[in-house]
């Protein structure tokens, strides 16, 4: 009886640890070399498995990471009033994609040091990554009010606005970001294209997505976005077909259908 029932009830005391382990959240993150290669962005949908595959893999943490995590947990437990220890633990949780625990640890750190913009920004980022744009936006607006503004903050505010369906406002921010950012950040261009698409400007979306697909022909989210945009203007099947075939070859039929029909395409966040 014990072994059958423990997992079901374990959450009662473990709480967010269990929640974190269960959440399959797409958390586009920085361009870590060990997670992506070349031009690929924060996630990789090429495997015929869930889109979050790389992040799920990140949970299978190796011994060294496990050790580091244990050390930081011990340090945070030993110094519960030390915001640095809490923030370092939160960083570690974020690294292994235990987002609910990361959010909790950032919240603790922020309570202890509410003036620390880095901690607040990370807290807001994790809330957004957990699909909570309302509260994430509150945190980011606080940062702005405290004059801790910057392109990255405005990028993620736009992501929050987009998640809230405020696509026109999001588009303005991403456009400004693209003008400001010399590298023509493809994540911002993709996000802007999605906002155009949602706001009823599919041709603007197509223009951007065609450019993105030209530069990154194997990026499944760009392909899926382009296919959706082309469908929304009733483009002929022969112009959509090649993109659909490429997407299927990259992620498989099931995943391709999900990306082009069933699930809302995610926007990128940046850290």
């Amino acid at each position: 009886m014990r072994s059958r029932l423990i997992p079901k009830w374990a959450f009662c005391l473990i709480g967010l640890a269990w929640a974190s382990a269960q959440s399959a959240v797409l958390a586009p993150d920085r361009l870590d070399e060990d997670q992506i290669s070349g031009w690929y962005l924060g996630f990789d949908g090429r495997m015929p498995e869930p889109i979050v595959t790389p992040f799920m893999k990140a949970r299978q943490i190796d011994g060294a990471v496990r050790k580091l995590l244990d050390e930081r947990e011990d340090a945070a437990r030993a110094a519960p009033e030390d915001p640095v220890a809490q923030a370092r633990l939160a960083d570690m949780y974020l690294r292994v994609n235990r987002l609910d625990e990361a959010a909790q640890a950032y919240w603790r750190a922020a309570r202890l040091d509410p003036e620390n913009p880095d901690v607040l920004e990370s807290f807001g980022f994790v809330l957004l990554a957990l699909g909570d744009p309302e509260n994430g936006l509150v945190v980011y607006r606080r940062l702005q009010a405290a004059k801790k503004d910057g392109p990255r903050i405005r990028f993620n505010i736009a992501a929050a606005l987009a998640q809230l369906g405020r696509h026109d406002e999001a588009a303005v921010l991403w456009q400004a970001y693209l003008i400001e950012d010399d590298s023509a950040e493809p994540r911002a261009a993709y996000n802007l294209a999605l906002s155009h698409l949602h706001a009823g400007r599919p041709r603007d979306a197509i223009r951007l997505l065609e450019l993105l697909v030209h530069h990154q022909p194997d990026q499944p989210y760009f392909l899926a976005g382009l296919i959706r945009a082309l469908k929304s203007v009733a483009a002929p099947a022969e112009s959509i077909g090649p993109f659909g075939e490429r997407l299927k070859s990259l992620v498989g039929s099931d995943q391709a259908r999900r990306l082009t029909v069933e699930i809302p395409l995610p926007v990128f966040l940046i850290r």
Binding site: I6, L16, A19, Q22, W107, A110, P114
Partner: protein
């Protein structure tokens, strides 16, 4: 009814005192600057996560319980917990969540079921199991007691809550479950349980005192403890 014969007061107080010593000093010192908005954001976020996990009662409860640990008690959390417990057939805990909300004078709660009728049905039911269930019941209690002794609290809680579904007003079960919450420092759940317990047995001084003790473990919620009438 003299609930003392079930050992409520002695065990409850003994365990509570031990836990108090263990947990003392583990509190987080909060900066003096305005962190209230952060707490509001965090609680609102936990509610969002609970709603996101509407199809997963286990996760939902995890988020609600985390929200229950926050400094303020929100009607949305209590209503969510009450609904969740009710949906899972845990009437005792559903009623306890509503009783806990009353302690804090939270009025904006609409559980969408007849609480008074549920409580009456519970009170009309047997306090202890019928003879043909007695052996299995006792085995369950013994198992839970062993698990508590071995500090296997997760399993103990699971066992006791399973038993409580069938015997929803059994004082021994409520007492043991309270013990688990006390030993794990889960004072909101301890207090919620005793809030429900006190409504089932309103004249019992030991229950009232344990309830007050639970409230005292949550100093940030002290202002509401006046709602409890202390018994001599």
């Amino acid at each position: 009814m003299d609930v003392r014969k079930y050992g409520i007061a002695m065990r409850g107080w003994g365990i509570c005192c031990c836990c108090c010593a263990i947990i003392a000093g583990q509190g987080v010192v909060v900066a003096e600057t305005d962190a209230v908005w952060l707490d509001q954001v965090w609680e609102a976020h936990l509610l969002v996560r609970a709603q996101q996990e509407a199809g997963n009662p286990l996760l939902q409860e995890a988020f609600y319980r985390e929200a229950l640990r926050q400094e303020s008690v929100s009607p949305a959390v209590m209503e969510g917990l009450a609904r969740l417990y009710r949906a899972q057939g845990e009437t005792t805990l559903a009623l306890a969540a509503l009783a806990y909300a009353r302690l804090y004078e939270l009025s904006d709660i609409h559980p969408e079921w007849d609480e008074a009728a549920q409580r009456q049905a519970l009170l009309d039911g047997p306090m202890q199991p019928p003879d043909d269930e007695r052996e299995a019941y006792q085995q369950g209690l013994d198992t839970a007691a062993t698990l508590i002794k071995e500090s296997r609290f997760l399993e103990a809680e699971q066992n006791l809550r399973a038993l409580l579904r069938s015997h929803p007003r059994d004082p021994q079960l409520l007492l043991d479950l309270g013990t688990v919450y006390a030993l794990t420092g889960d004072w909101p759940m301890f207090t919620m349980l005793y809030a429900g317990f006190a409504e089932l047995y309103p004249d019992n001084a030991d229950i009232a005192n344990n309830l007050r003790f639970g409230l005292e473990q949550m100093p940030h919620q002290q202002e509401s403890s006046h709602a409890i009438t202390p018994h001599p």
